[in-house]
Symmetry: C2
Subunit: 434 residues, 2 copies
């Protein structure tokens, strides 16, 4: 039986594996986590709007009934090209006839001093939970000493004005609203600042000007401040420094400045990489020199195809899903002796939510849907793509509930994931129970 190994169970890997269910190939999908993460809603987990389980779905549940798909929880450490095996950290290896690399990316820090060490990226569920715990702890710290807390303890700096940056900034402003109106914190809403920094001169560069202007107005109405056209020069534990010399005291810098495949498994497996460490692929998504090795999603420099054969697709969920599905179909077509036309990305538009009842949808024809209608479109689409019916229901209820009451949202500090293990020990109380 033809063996397909898929590395990674994000949008790309999952789409490929799903498209291979019930076909004549034997699939093994490998991920170091036992769940798929719905990344577009990580900012909601980070800002205590949703719970971890709402955006995570057990991979086994998806393939439990599929006879030809096996899940393996393991870390991939390399690929043996001679013996055609994927090498796992536990010493095992998985032989393959076709390999799909769908291992995703990681935060891109542009070698900015301190960025890796002192900022919170937002790419994994673990990232989101760390940011939530940290943020809620800062609120508690300031509340405990309302007149005597470090400068910047309530200042949240978001680096990056793309959809993730805009979404997390809006959600942080909402969290500060709820905290001061519903949670009895003893500081004023105005004590909390959310500052968005971006090197471009406007937000949401992939969107049209009108959409970006609408987003900026909406965020400004929520009290968010902007430092546009500014680059981050350095990040330290208690401040961030911009390229004009401005220093912003802060203990929380959220890194939404883009992703890279550099430093991931992608550059340890001897394949050709291009800009940002993304694997270079041909129009059929094979990697150079390997007719049976494919790369999809964020890890790959997927070509747009069609009228724009040289254009590289953005690192978004739709590209991952479409490229994953394409590769699955191509593998089957190859085995059946059928030919497959080159990959062609079908742009379905882009979306960003900005806050309560405010979102932007930009259709491929450039039309903008915004405000409540844009928000409803955003809600509907995210619920549609969210994996698992239970998760859809629970997220829908959470959203409805928050929309009606403001009151909900799991604003709990799980505690085990503090940056400082000593701190976690105290907060957990595993030794001293209170």
């Amino acid at each position: 039986m033809h063996k397909v190994v898929i590395v990674g169970a994000g949008f790309g890997g999952l789409a490929a594996a799903r498209a291979l269910i019930g076909t004549q190939v034997q699939v093994t999908i490998v991920d170091q986590r036992n769940f798929h993460t719905f990344q577009p809603l990580l900012y909601e987990v980070a800002t205590a709007g949703l719970d971890s389980g709402d955006v995570a779905y057990p991979i086994r549940v998806i393939f439990g009934k599929a006879d030809n798909v096996i899940f393996r929880m393991a870390e991939v450490v390399g690929v043996g090209w001679e013996d055609r095996q994927v090498q796992l950290a536990d010493g095992d290896s998985l032989p393959f006839d076709s390999l799909i690399v769908a291992s995703g990316a990681t935060a891109r820090f542009f070698s900015i001093p301190g960025a890796d060490e002192h900022t919170f990226p937002l790419y994994t569920l673990s990232d989101a939970r760390k940011l939530r715990d940290h943020t809620l702890r800062k609120l508690e710290e300031v509340d405990a000493h309302p007149d005597d807390h470090p400068d910047g303890a309530l200042t949240f700096v978001v680096v990056g004005g793309g959809p993730t940056g805009v979404e997390v900034a809006g959600a942080l402003a909402e969290l500060l609203d709820v905290a001061t109106t519903h949670d009895g914190f003893r500081f004023h809403r105005d004590d909390g600042r959310v500052i968005l920094v971006d090197g471009a001169d406007r937000l949401l560069t992939p969107f049209r000007d009108t959409a970006a202007g609408y987003a900026a107005d909406t965020l400004a109405g929520q009290g968010i401040e902007f430092r546009m056209g500014r680059m981050v020069q350095a990040v330290r534990a208690d401040q961030v420094e911009l390229d004009d010399g401005t220093v912003i005291p802060t203990q929380t810098v959220i890194w939404a400045g883009g992703v890279t495949a550099e430093g991931t498994i992608a550059d340890q497996i001897d394949l050709k990489t291009g800009q940002n460490g993304r694997l270079v692929v041909g129009p059929d998504l094979t990697v150079a020199g390997h007719a049976d090795v494919f790369a999809v999603g964020d890890v790959a420099a997927v070509l747009w195809g069609g009228d724009e054969p040289e254009k590289i697709c953005p690192q978004v969920a739709q590209v991952a899903i479409q490229s994953g599905t394409y590769v699955a179909r191509k593998i089957i077509a190859d085995l059946d002796g059928r030919s497959t036309p080159p990959f062609r990305y079908r742009d379905k538009g882009i979306m960003a939510t900005i806050g309560r009842r405010a979102a932007i949808t930009q259709l491929p024809n450039g039309r903008i849907i915004r405000g409540t209608l844009g928000w409803l479109a955003w809600l509907g689409l995210h619920l549609w793509y969210l994996v698992g019916f239970r998760n859809k229901i629970v997220v829908f209820i959470n959203w409805s509930w928050r929309y009606l009451s403001w009151g909900s949202g799991p604003r709990i500090i799980i505690g085990e994931i503090a940056a400082d293990p000593g701190e976690a020990e105290n907060l957990n109380g595993d030794t001293v129970k209170q």
Copy 2:
């Protein structure tokens, strides 16, 4: 203003603080966690039936609108009796006129060698999540090497045949059912064993014989094995040894063998403790020698009152709730110059769930409701007492969903909370992203 400090936001502390909302006293409720834990459902979190956020409720949301109640997230390290202040780990202290100690208990290991080190208690949310991660990891490990895994990797030993032990044993058996029928694990259901050990000769000693018999039959029908009348002699990383010399190979021992106040803050504050380290209290729940210091819930040896003035109440949620409410009312009555009759526990019956559509409710008059009706009573009562309307809805949906489909349940390994930090690092992939 009369200052009341409440140490702990479990059932007892929360009930006291709630009963003091809008009264003439100034309340500070202190907990090292920012959430209240609904302990009766921790076994569901541990067995991947519910998500953490479903059984945790942010304390601030409860008191956010209460002008006279302040929440402080902090660890209590002592009490200064001279200056009447509760001392916090961060160096602050909270002055009080009345003090309510509601700090709960911790697992009781009876000095059994290895028990503290190698078993999983089930008293805190952190405990529950550790057990879930560990259990799901064991399933993955065995799946990765179906023919070559350590003896006992799929053997789950539950120590304690009270409600917690019975509930977790039943839920583990269900988890094994679901794992092998829905999740595509490559081992057989029969490879997984759940063994319940108890020193008594029957389950559920607080229940009548018929109820215990029903529970035993139901659990046996789920494939659970019993070692009744046996004590645990020692626990090691890969086995548990019983007092008859039997050695059971296992990597997962769940400790449901009771709780103690020993080793908690209760024995660091110079108050008289009795059996199990519980604080000795009078009929009005004051601790000996302190007319304005009260103890409630698991940390206190609460007297039953009424016809049984010497009987000590069990460490259950109802006792905590009733004793907490009593103390709050007594403090107000004292300030108003009214007298308060001694505490009297109103037994509302006891409950245990055993699995899908099987539970026992024993009413105070000894009547037993079991089977589907008992299960519905159990569901209803737990939903009623679960804090927060959103949590009630989400838990209800989860239960309905699982009842209809078996398929749901957040079987995700969060990963950060592995026992071994090195392991957590790998599984998180914070350094090497896949």
